[in-house]
């Protein structure tokens, strides 16, 4: 949601009065012809949802939201699981458990969101060119996947040591 908002694929403007364009909601699909989408960065559809809200995401933006949203969610869940599980005896009370287990997930979430948000804010005024921004996301996705693998290994280790 935040990503779409900052990428201007989601616009909230209380003074827009989109109902001027007709009874809401209004869905405008991009033409399906080969020349319909000038580039794949164009909006796949435009949805005037309310008088003040319009959604116009490109295909990369939709995929970005789905992929990153899922990865952030799974990382978060992994982090919670790590916290809830008792640390192995060899690491209990040392603080290493928290650092090695929880921090990666925590940082990974930020590694995804923070640079993306900062990036988008930095180039926010660039208007039309904002649609190219989804290309930076693969880096964040890679970090999240790495974090996920790390957390999974930690949990696996915990399980083995606990047996």
């Amino acid at each position: 949601m935040l990503y779409l908002l900052i990428a201007k694929a989601l616009v909230i403007d209380p003074e827009a009065h989109f109902s001027r364009f007709g009874p809401l909601p209004i869905l405008v699909l991009a033409p399906l012809s080969a020349r319909g989408l000038t580039s794949w960065l164009d909006p796949a559809f435009v949805l005037y949802a309310t008088d003040a809200v319009v959604l116009a995401p490109s295909v990369p933006a939709i995929l970005t939201v789905l992929v990153l949203g899922t990865l952030v969610g799974v990382n978060g869940a992994m982090g919670v699981e790590t916290i809830l599980r008792p640390p192995p005896r060899c690491e209990a009370g040392t603080g290493a458990w928290w650092v090695a287990g929880v921090l990666p997930s925590f940082l990974a979430s930020f590694s995804c969101c923070a640079p993306t948000v900062l990036f988008l804010l930095g180039a926010g005024a660039a208007g039309a060119v904002i649609s190219v921004i989804p290309f930076v996301v693969p880096v964040a996705a890679a970090l999240l996947l790495g974090s996920l693998a790390w957390s999974a290994r930690r949990l696996e280790r915990t399980t083995i040591l606990a047996v």
């Binding site: 827009a16 001027r20 960065l41 921004i133």
Partner: protein, 325 residues
């Protein structure tokens, strides 16, 4: 007056350039002519220098897609869609008054029109706030439509013609790359920037560009945020001039290498002035109905090309411009 490259945020340049490279890799293929390259040790001519200074604005060629087959709606229908304070560029084509809401043209930048077989292009650059109308007839008799190259010079839209792929900065109107290099496009005078409410009161039988453009865009929203009023520009400009704030709107008139800027707000008090620009004897008149400044040839009373433009862009393209006081 400083003659230096200005950059608001170097960081943006890097980010936009990287984005542009990625976007270009995925873009529909339009082979635009590359810069010719500077001859070593030789003094580069002005056009070559301009050509070298063209830079990517982010989108690929036609990544900001022109409207190719514009449709129009009546004033009555448009009044249901647009508020009276919506900014429009107004122009009379073949005796028919037409308005182009910027809430639409900001997403396309060029509207390729055809009037009685004669192509004309209504071009709008959001970064410089300038709307110019060009004939699609080239000097060799060929006709063409225009596309957006995705490139900028002095933060201004660089168009390309579909016939020869030559590249034309909008505010220059001269090809700086390609077969037509050095050739000047024919500017068509008479376009003004006003509001929809003022325009429809004056032209109740006019036509308004329809939202049915063949593209899905979030019409009614403004992708450039507060750019029009915020200080600073996004891309480098070649000359800066601190006589006015960068985004102040002036009406630019140019002829034979001479240029005159008419500060729009100040001119409202004056209403009319006789002016000379290059070899042209002109009269500038404030139109209170449209809240616009028109510039007419004093002998023929025909409108000449004069357009609203942000001061930073006008002075960047015309560093020796005079200002009407």
């Amino acid at each position: 007056m400083n003659e230096k490259i200005e950059m608001d945020r170097g960081r943006r340049r890097l980010l936009l350039a990287s984005g542009a490279a990625l976007a270009a890799a995925c873009a529909p293929r339009v082979d635009l002519p590359p810069a010719a390259g500077m001859p070593s040790g030789a003094a580069a001519d002005e056009l070559e220098e301009i050509s070298q200074m063209i830079q990517s604005g982010g989108p690929p060629p036609d990544g900001i897609p022109p409207v190719e087959k514009p449709a129009y709606v009546s004033v009555a229908d448009a009044s249901k869609q647009w508020k009276d304070d919506a900014v429009v560029d107004a122009f009379t084509i073949g005796g028919q008054a037409r308005a182009y809401p910027r809430f639409i043209t900001v997403w396309h930048e060029i509207v390729n029109e055809n009037v009685g077989g004669e192509p004309i292009s209504i071009t709008y650059c959001p970064l410089t706030g300038s709307t110019l109308v060009f004939s699609g007839q080239l000097a060799d008799g060929r006709t063409t439509t225009f596309g957006t190259s995705g490139q900028l010079y002095n933060s201004n839209l660089v168009m390309y013609d579909r016939a020869t792929k030559s590249m034309w900065p909008q505010l220059l109107g001269i090809a700086v790359r390609g077969d037509r290099k050095g050739e000047r496009l024919t500017e068509i005078g008479g376009a003004v920037t006003t509001t929809f409410g003022r325009w429809k009161a004056k032209f109740p039988d006019g036509l308004v560009l329809s939202k049915e453009t063949g593209h899905a865009r979030a019409y009614g929203t403004w992708p450039y945020g507060d750019y029009d009023t915020a200080s600073g520009v996004l891309f480098p400009v070649r000359h800066t001039d601190d006589r006015f704030p960068q985004k102040k709107v002036v009406v630019g008139v140019r002829s034979n290498g001479a240029a005159l800027a008419i500060p729009k707000d100040e001119f409202k008090q004056r209403t009319e002035a006789s002016i000379e620009v290059g070899d042209l004897q002109l009269v500038a008149r404030y139109d209170p109905e449209l809240d616009a400044v028109r510039v007419l040839d004093r002998k023929t009373s025909e409108p000449v090309s004069a357009y609203d433009v942000m001061w930073f862009a006008w002075s960047a393209f015309n560093p020796k411009t005079e200002v009407l006081r």
